[in-house]
């Protein structure tokens, strides 16, 4: 078997950026108590992950920090702590930052949600409750004993999460959102200034709200929002949760990449013609925090064989491991249609970085000497024999015509 078509794909962009570039900007309101005294454990956690931290104190008078120099991104990550500062970073700049592949982690609470950041989150489909709206749950208090975790890739396990001074977000139906923790059924958000409970004064009620929400763009840039700083605070530091969330947002967990894609013709030809049997293989790796390991035990990796529409959508089956990647493959027969076909693997699962690999190949029709001859098809024997019968009958007719019944012609001639 020849492996004539062998294509190596470059590493996913997000992966290389996460490992090579870890410059992190931490935005913090200078009017609130010192960062180091309040968030020292968070600080240590970030340091231990080898993030190159830069503290950006923002106050009423401080200029907004530059995220770009000469059009180049200065940071890979931004961590926004609760702030009441009026001008932090313009919404457009934040959007541009994410569009360029930067990751943003926003922690707000019921007092500190900054308008520009809120508008930025709104653009992504996350709608945090405004200032003065407070998260309340009279059944469970301000601690989630059994949080309803929606995505275990982002947050593998969480026993108890403190959610004091919380705000809650409503979500749009964007497919790029990754809801992580849903608000409990007994909770609601109410405007504390209003005093009276009404539909106007509540932001969410029951499980329609979300407390931890991720977002992953098509460029694999990640944004995370949570409505309470309690877990990040020294007083009630929740290392498990902080670790998981920071890892996910700053591209350490939930990272997968396609290491290789390969396709070949089962009969060994270099190209493809209709009805050939082809095999497609893709190698997937998973970053475990230290190194790339095979991305195993997936049953939902699918291959599409597309010409305008998918002609096939097939489940890929894990076959073997190769150089720290798990090879998923499938073998199928090319449809009876020639043209430009694309092998496409679009693996988009909540919490994992997106894998989008496509290879386009030409599929030719049969050459004129590759069709079966008519005598190989039993149906045509009828037509063949009748055509032959016509020839034989005609020959007999001609012979008889010449040698018999000359009366008429003879008479003509004599006349």
């Amino acid at each position: 078997m020849f492996f004539l078509l062998f294509l190596l794909t470059p590493l996913a962009l997000a992966v290389s950026s996460a490992l090579a570039d870890s410059r992190t900007l931490v935005l913090y309101d200078s009017r609130l108590p010192e960062f180091t005294t309040q968030y020292s454990k968070l600080f240590q956690t970030l340091e231990s992950k080898n993030f190159d931290l830069e503290l950006g104190l923002v106050g009423p008078d401080s200029p907004s920090p530059d995220l770009f120099t000469n059009g180049f991104r200065r940071y890979q990550n931004i961590l926004v702590l609760p702030t009441t500062s009026r001008d932090l970073v313009p919404t457009e700049t934040l959007l541009q930052f994410v569009q360029d592949g930067g990751d943003v982690f926003v922690i707000s609470d019921n007092k500190g949600i900054q308008t520009d950041v809120a508008l930025f989150l709104n653009e992504l489909g996350i709608f945090p409750s405004p200032k003065e709206y407070k998260y309340k749950d009279y059944h469970n208090g301000e601690t989630l004993d059994d949080p309803e975790v929606q995505n275990t890739v982002v947050l593998p396990s969480a026993k108890s999460i403190s959610y004091t001074d919380g705000s809650v977000a409503l979500l749009s139906n964007s497919e790029l959102l990754v809801p992580v923790v849903r608000a409990p059924r007994t909770s609601y958000t109410v405007n504390v200034d209003e005093g009276r409970l009404s539909t106007d004064s509540t932001w969410h009620s029951g499980s329609q709200g979300f407390l931890f929400v991720g977002f992953q763009g098509l460029n694999n840039a990640r944004v995370f929002w949570t409505g309470s700083s309690a877990s990040f605070h020294d007083a009630s530091f929740n290392e498990e949760v902080v670790d998981a969330l920071v890892n996910w947002t700053f591209q350490i967990s939930g990272l997968i990449k396609a290491t290789s894609t390969k396709h070949y013709n089962e009969n060994g030809d270099a190209g493809y013609k209709i009805k050939d049997t082809t095999t497609y293989e893709i190698g997937l790796s998973h970053w475990n925090g230290d190194q790339w390991v095979p991305f195993k035990n997936r049953t939902d990796v699918q291959l599409e064989y597309v010409m305008l529409d998918p002609y096939y959508r097939l489940n890929l089956v894990p076959t073997r491991e190769e150089n720290s990647s798990q090879i998923y493959s499938t073998t199928f027969q090319i449809p009876d249609r020639h043209g430009m076909f694309t092998y496409k693997v679009l693996y988009q699962r909540d919490g994992y970085s997106f894998v989008d690999e496509s290879t386009t190949v030409p599929v030719r029709h049969l050459a004129n000497d590759e069709y079966p001859r008519s005598w190989e098809i039993t149906n045509s024997w009828v037509y063949l024999s009748s055509a032959l019968a016509v020839v034989i009958g005609w020959f007999a007719f001609v012979v008889l015509f010449v040698f018999s019944g000359n009366k008429h012609f003879d008479k003509e001639k004599t006349e």
């Binding site: 001859r373 008519s374 098809i377 045509s380 009828v382 016509v390 020839v391 009958g393 018999s404």
Partner: protein, 146 residues
């Protein structure tokens, strides 16, 4: 001239038959099938009588009937079994049709009644044309059937 003689000879025979049949009708009642059968018989008889002295025409007609039968057979097979492989069907079917057309044209050219129409075409020339056209047809059909 000979033909006219034949007709005059035969007409009485036909006429003889018709009174018998009409008497049959009256006795057994009017039947469409019977009437049709009668007319077919009459025309067949008249055909036999007409071509009594012309074996070539009879030979041509026999060949034509053979071709029609073969064509119908293929068509029925195609309808029942399906038209794959279509080129073979076309080749087989069209070979009968085209051979039929060629043979009919040979028949037309060898009829005495049409002598004025095909002035300057001798029967030998007509037959030669027919053979040449048929060979070309068979060549094409065999290649088309593949």
């Amino acid at each position: 001239m000979a033909k006219k003689d034949v007709k005059t000879k035969n007409t009485p025979v036909v006429k003889k038959q018709t009174p018998q049949q009409t008497s049959d009708k009256t006795s057994s009642g009017v039947s469409v099938v019977q009437e049709l059968g009668n007319s077919v018989r009459i025309s067949f008889n008249s055909y036999l009588a007409e071509t009594k002295n012309n074996q070539k025409l009879r030979l041509i007609d026999t060949f034509l009937i053979f071709l029609v039968g073969l064509g119908v057979l293929q068509f029925v097979f195609c309808v029942l079994v399906g038209n794959f492989p279509f080129n073979a069907f076309l080749g087989g079917f069209i070979s009968t049709v085209a051979q039929f057309v060629l043979t009919v044209s040979l028949r037309l050219q060898s009829l005495d009644a049409n002598k004025t129409v095909f002035k300057g075409i001798t029967p030998e020339r007509a037959f030669g044309d027919y053979i040449f056209a048929s060979l070309a047809l068979h060549f094409v059909v065999l290649h088309f059937i593949n």
